[in-house]
Structures are given as structure tokens and as C-alpha cells.
Subunit: 284 residues, 2 copies
DNA sequence: AAATCTTTGCAATATATATTGCAAAGATTT
DNA sequence: AAATCTTTGCAATATATATTGCAAAGATTT
């Protein structure tokens, strides 16, 4: 099984960028590739057909059709969804962590749609679109989320400040600069430690200034008072020991995507200045 | 669905014996037929290739390849996986970002089990269990993953160093301290910028020292040479513009969980000293 | 900077596949 | 049985696909 992938892994000659691109396409959508001719595959990878043939030979195949045959074999092996769910069941029976994690996260993702509506996402995106500076506030368990959202928002051309794990005193110091047109996004989770220090004081302060607030997290944030302008609470089906926040992550992503669609010029600007900066710094 | 069968049923012209033989083969083993040329199919039915072409035209297709395309479509529809992505496509058409994101990530998670085995996870956990210091290396798109894994490993009582976004020179500086019993985990993704600077040099260096290396990422890391001791490559069904790394995240989590199970004393120690530290610092 | 090696696209060629006219064999009608 | 129609294979042709030599561009070494 998985002949082709195996073959690539164990191949120890040189592979060019074009080869890698091709391999990546073959591995990521093999079930498309099985129907493609050499030149069609080449087009998909923005590469010349001859490169396709040469790669096939490099990997030890007789030619392109031979390689495609091998991919077909792999795909036929893996297809038939009986196979998949059978695989899943057996690996769960085996006590496999990976399979049960996957299962759990899939359930969690499915549950997201019951917790958060597209309407709420739109609302959040609108708040962010109007924002001057966006503050992300949270404790360390929210750090991966904050890192990701920070990145996405900056790419959309927005100014973002991250306030991670701050004590009351330091947080106050960082928030003096908060202004009317800013937005505060505060992340809150129940276990093991709940909300960022002075979560409620934070929201009160923001409201006083006239800044908007968004709370994102699990069900524990539903009880925060005063209420934020928008509360995006994701409930988990198992609420267990899981540390992954896939559900919340996906909510953040949806916010960022909706925002980008809303404001394509600004996003483009952000990307352009990123590119310019990048090349400028390369030049040095 | 079942376009071809339908078409045949509703066809009211004359069909010869040869036609019927052909149709019977197509309907009884369509998943074979999708790969056959006209003459191969002809041979299977003990018929001449020209008959195949004529039948295709009779049924209203432009020619043999056109008919085969239709059969392919039917087969792809029925193959289970397609069902999921079709569902996804419709919800994208609906314009709901959140719902389509959720569908996409669920498909990505399901695909993880085809990319990575629990055996590989166990192997990785064993490497980590024996490690003295663990180095996490990656570029900024991997930062959320690194942040998360860092946290989890520290909680399991391990020493972790994070090398984010470093240039060759700085990375070299940080890696002088690399020793024989250490492990380097390097994250690599294709787009938009591929691998961390000097990815390959890094692995070479580690091997020289005798340290172990683990590569985690998408299919682009399969082609890295020299090979790491363990390569955990997660392929995505769509490989699209998605920035979320749920699949890879879950692999990291599985590593951490398996490790914690393997080494419960150490993990406990880690948690205890965390608690002690925490209360000590509260006291101040 | 010059020399060498590597990679890649182009264009020519080779091979495979699909299509069609024609004629022969078989079926059907008169 | 003769005439006509239908079906099919063969062989010629058209089209699509795969492969390869060659040269240019780029990367690497000297």
C-alpha cells in the first residue's frame, strides 16, 4: 500500500524543484492524477511535459504511463469508503491515539456549526473591518490561536497588538493606548486556568473608551459580565482533556477569511507591503 | 448520479449484441473501465475497437474518450470520498465561509489517517522520550504549531528550545549547543515560502552530532535530503489556500499524548514543578 | 569571470489511441 | 433465391500522448 509515497521517500537521488512540485501534486490529489496525461499533469504543476517524463524515469518507472499505473494502483487500494471506515474502526480498537484524536476533533468541528453562526462571523468581521488597532488578549493556552490570528490579520493589512499572559499591572500599562476605534479580542477558556487576568475589568475599560470587544473561547465566556459586543463561544461535545482548540481556531480563520473578502483592497495592500518589505530586507 | 446507466436505460435506438456485451462490461466493472483505452475495452468484450467507438457515438457521446469521461464521473461520485468533497463544494457555493471551512478541515483530518500511522507516532514519541533537549525549528507559518507543541512538551517535563524564523547565521549560533542526545523537530510547508532556511544543512549537522531529527509538515518534506530519522508528512485533500494546519496540529498532539502515556512519572514531575513554581510566584 | 554542470523548455520524433471508409459476412425483407 | 439492410473487422488515417536530442538559461564550481 502507498507504493508511490514509499518510493519517493526512499528515493535518494537528486530532485529538482519541478520534481518536488510534481510529487506534491501527485501525493495531494492522486485521484485526479490517475486520469491525467503527462502534459495535463505538467500543466497542473506549471512545468513542461518532458519534466514529467523525466521525473517518472528518475523514480525508476519505465515512463509516464508506468508511473501513472502505480498511482492508479495506490488510489484503487485506498478507495472504497468501506476501506476507510474499516481502517478507522480497527485503529480505534487498537487503542490508537491518533485515530481517536482525529475522531474527537472531527466531532468538535462538526459541533462548531451549532455554536457559532455565519451571521456572528460576519458581525465580527465588520467590527474588525472598522478597527484601527486590534488587541489580542489571552493566556498561554490561547497562544497558538493568538499567533495564528495575529498573522492572518496583519496579512489583511490590519494593525495588531498581542497581549499574552500579562499580569493586571502590565496589561493596564499596555492598554493605556486603547482608543475609540480599536477592537479588543479576548480569548477565554475554562481549564486549567480560566480567563485572562482582569477579563472583566478589561471589557469595562474598553466600553468606557468606546472601543469594541469580542470574546472568543469555550462556554465559560458566556457568563462574563459586562457582555462583550460579540461573544463567540464554541462548545465541545466532550469537553474533555483535549488541549486542541480546532473549533476555536476555525472560528478565527472564518473571521479572517470573511474580513479579507470584505476588504480585498486593504488585504492586497497588506500583502504588497509585506512583499516589498521582504525584498527590501533580502537586498540588505 | 449513475449517469451512464441512466443513459443506457433511456436509449431507444437499436443496440447490437456487441453493444450489449460492451455495456454489460462497462456497467459491471466500471472502475476497471475508467482506465482502459478503446481497444483494451474492445479486447475485454471480444469486439473490435471500432465497435466501441461506434457505440459511444450511438449513445450520444462525442467519441470514446467522452464516454469514458462520463464513466469516470460516475465512478468518482460513488467512491465515498467524493461524497464529502461534493458536500463541501455545495456549501461553498452557498457562500458560507464557516461551514465550508468546517467541511474542509474535517476532510483534512480524515485524510491524516491515510498519511500518518500510529506506528510512526509511537516511533516519534520514543525518540522524544529519550531526548535530552528538544529543538523546534520552523518559519512563521508553523509558529502556532510550534507554540502548541512547545507547551505540551514542557508540560511533559521535557526541555524545549524554539528556533523560529531564524536566518542561517543565527540558527547556526543557536544550534552550537546541540548534543548527541538531543532531538530536532523541523517543520516544513510548501506555500508560500517553503522550508526553513538551511533545512538540509540542519539535518546534516544533527546527524553529524548524532542527534535525532524529526520532520513534520506537508508533502513537500518528503523530498528533503538527507532524510530525517522520522518524517511525518500530512497530505491534504485539497491543498488549497487554507492556512490552517489542523492535520499537522493533531499529529503533534498525538505525539505529545503518546509521549505522556509512555512516561507518566516524568510528566507528573513536570506538572508538579509547574504547580510549585506557580504557587511560589503567587506568594511573592 | 570563466568553466562546468544542471535543469528545463522547445521542437522533432516515436508511439499509442481513436476514428472512419470500405468491404465482407451475416441478417432480414421481398 | 435475390435484393437489401445491418453489423463488424480491417486497414488507412487522424489525433493525442509520450519521449528524446538539443540548446538556452541558470546554478555551481574553479
Amino acid at each position: 500500500m502507498e507504493n508511490f509515497k514509499h518510493l519517493v521517500e526512499s528515493y535518494d537521488g537528486k530532485l529538482t524543484t519541478a520534481d518536488r512540485d510534481l510529487i506534491s501534486i501527485i501525493l495531494s490529489e492522486p485521484s485526479e492524477v490517475v486520469y491525467l496525461s503527462s502534459s495535463e499533469l505538467a500543466a497542473k504543476a506549471n512545468v513542461h511535459a518532458s519534466t514529467v517524463v523525466r521525473m517518472a524515469r528518475k523514480l525508476g518507472f519505465e515512463g509516464y504511463p508506468d508511473m501513472r499505473k502505480s498511482v492508479r494502483y495506490d488510489v484503487d487500494q485506498n478507495s472504497g469508503f468501506a476501506n476507510i471506515s474499516q481502517q478507522r474502526r480497527t485503529s480505534i480498537a487498537h487503542g490508537s491515539n491518533l485515530a481517536s484524536l482525529v475522531e474527537g476533533e472531527m466531532a468538535a468541528l462538526a459541533a462548531v456549526l451549532n455554536s457559532v453562526s455565519q451571521g456572528q462571523i460576519d458581525e465580527g468581521a465588520q467590527l474588525l473591518a472598522n478597527a484601527d488597532v486590534i488587541y489580542l488578549v489571552g493566556r498561554s493556552s490561547a497562544e497558538p490561536l493568538m499567533v495564528h490570528l495575529n498573522r492572518r490579520l496583519r496579512r489583511a493589512g490590519l494593525r495588531v497588538e498581542t497581549l499574552l499572559n500579562l499580569q493586571r499591572r502590565d496589561m493596564a500599562e499596555r492598554l493605556i493606548s486603547l482608543q475609540e476605534n480599536d477592537v479588543v479580542i479576548a480569548f477565554g477558556f475554562q481549564a486549567p486556568i480560566s480567563l485572562p487576568a482582569s477579563f472583566e475589568a478589561l471589557i469595562k475599560h474598553a466600553q468606557l473608551i468606546g472601543a469594541k470587544t469580542i470574546n472568543i473561547g469555550d462556554t465559560s465566556i458566556l457568563t462574563v459580565r459586562p457582555r462583550a459586543n460579540l461573544t463567540l463561544s464554541v462548545s465541545r461535545p466532550d469537553e474533555g482533556a483535549m488541549q486542541l482548540r480546532s473549533g476555536v481556531m476555525i472560528v478565527c480563520e472564518a473571521l479572517a477569511m470573511t474580513l479579507a473578502n470584505k476588504n480585498p483592497e486593504r488585504a492586497l495592500l497588506g500583502l504588497e507591503s509585506l512583499e516589498r518589505l521582504r525584498s527590501d530586507m533580502q537586498g540588505e
